[in-house]
Symmetry: C2
Subunit: 283 residues, 2 copies
């Protein structure tokens, strides 16, 4: 893994960086200086051949060629290379450092919606039939991580893909708006409970460059079955749950609406101490 930059023209990269004109703003200059430097260091380190480079060029071209307003292949590739999660990690780390609210729609991922309706406790986010979908009762308490006390009136925002692996706006043939989405307020005991689907593992689209990249890297394109969950109690408490957190669904008896149960307590931290976990069930 030795870098071999010393073999090559030591001024090459700085010359490209210096080609930026005087009108470039500071942030753009910072980003492109670093991008060019790392890109060149990469090429020198692996001594990238012309054929490998041209393969990469064609690969980059193929990303946009399969993208549509409904299909963002660039984002998929970014995900496969770990960049999407890294940007998320950077944002959350910085949010914790600065105690600013760590929310933006792109941090929340492409499938969160600001329009999810509030639903009654004991209600269901299952609006539309899901073939082979197994209804499950999800419930638990929202607790203050510091005082350990239940928090009444906290908001739990839930979204998940249907049993075919698609979210509502990817699947307008089978799903109506806000299917498998909903916000719930905890009751006076800090409890929430609602019906959802036992989540289904699904494959990312494999008919494009992301699929080719999965094959090339000998990785599988399946995302573990998961439920997205964001909880907060404005203004001072917030948790966005995102991480590999394996949970167990258990059989449920005596409930006509579901045969499975998931009990999950959520601990809310003051901003600045927020954990960063996503509820994700590996089945």
């Amino acid at each position: 893994m030795a870098t071999s930059s010393s073999k090559f023209d030591p001024d090459f990269t700085q010359n490209v960086i210096n080609a930026m004109g005087p009108k470039v703003d500071d942030r753009t200059r910072e980003i492109f200086s670093a991008l060019i430097r790392h890109l060149h260091d990469f090429a020198r380190e692996v001594e990238l051949t012309s054929d490998e480079w041209m393969t990469g060029v064609h690969f980059v071209n193929s990303i946009g060629q399969i993208s549509t307003p409904q299909r963002n292949e660039g984002q998929r590739i970014s995900d496969v290379l770990g960049l999407e999660s890294l940007v998320d990690e950077i944002a959350h780390k910085l949010a914790m450092d600065t105690e600013e609210a760590p929310t933006s729609s792109s941090i929340l991922g492409p499938f969160w919606s600001p329009n999810a309706p509030f639903r009654e406790l004991d209600g269901s986010i299952i609006q539309d039939p899901a073939p082979n979908g197994q209804p499950a009762l999800m419930h638990g308490k929202v607790l203050d991580v510091v005082t350990k006390k239940p928090i009444a009136g906290a908001i739990v925002d839930i979204w998940q893909a249907s049993s075919n692996g698609k979210y509502d706006f990817q699947d307008t043939e089978n799903q109506t708006d806000n299917n498998l989405r909903g916000k719930f307020r905890t009751d006076e005991n800090g409890e929430y409970h609602f019906y959802c689907l036992h989540p289904t593992a699904y494959s990312l689209p494999t008919d494009g460059p992301a699929g080719a990249l999965f094959t090339l890297l000998d990785r599988h394109p399946m995302r573990p079955a998961h439920i997205h969950l964001m909880a907060n109690h404005p203004p001072q408490l917030q948790a966005r749950l995102k991480d590999d957190l394996v949970v167990d669904f258990t059989p449920l008896e005596g409930d006509k609406n579901a045969q499975l149960e998931l009990k999950y307590d959520i601990r809310l931290a003051p901003k600045g101490v927020a954990p960063n976990k996503e509820l994700q069930a590996n089945l």
Copy 2:
């Protein structure tokens, strides 16, 4: 320019690299390990925000969307970021180290053609009329850089864009195959002479992502006027000329075919000592 990776999860990047499966061949593993590491180091170093990342994702998608079999926007972007020239520099440096032949069509750039015809000395590569094109006589000697002696029978391969900035296969409306291309053999005195066009500076296409990148980086999209030249004397001598080499065209009198003259001697080195210069005239 302090790297700030220590702030962030120290295992993040290695986990992504480790996701590669056992079937990945060694070279692919080497390339993607380095790519992922440099990509992540870049993001951490500049603390890339979610909005900046999403801007980048859309930019990558836009590259392929404007690309066609005749337009390789990915290659243009690679050129703007200096990667294309760097890969070329790496290949030539390695070729010199290993004394292997440094030729492949991608190293020679997108506009070289293996099909250029041999032409007679004093002939012209101008097959088709070029509006505002100025014919020029180019001539000189091919010399052995070690012995200083002229080399008879050396091959000089020339290609250039027309006065509209386009090469033959980009411009089938105005140019026939092999217009402004040709190979010449030096005579018994090691001399070559032929007619070409005084080269014209031209703009890269600016209606796509490369144009946007030029604007963002406050750079101009003009390529300096240049003539491509490759000379060799098989098997042991070779030079590919590629660099910023400013030459002067001088007025030429008494030649009905041209009003300009360029005298350019070419020094051929044994493989392993080959210079790496492109004849490029900044007008």
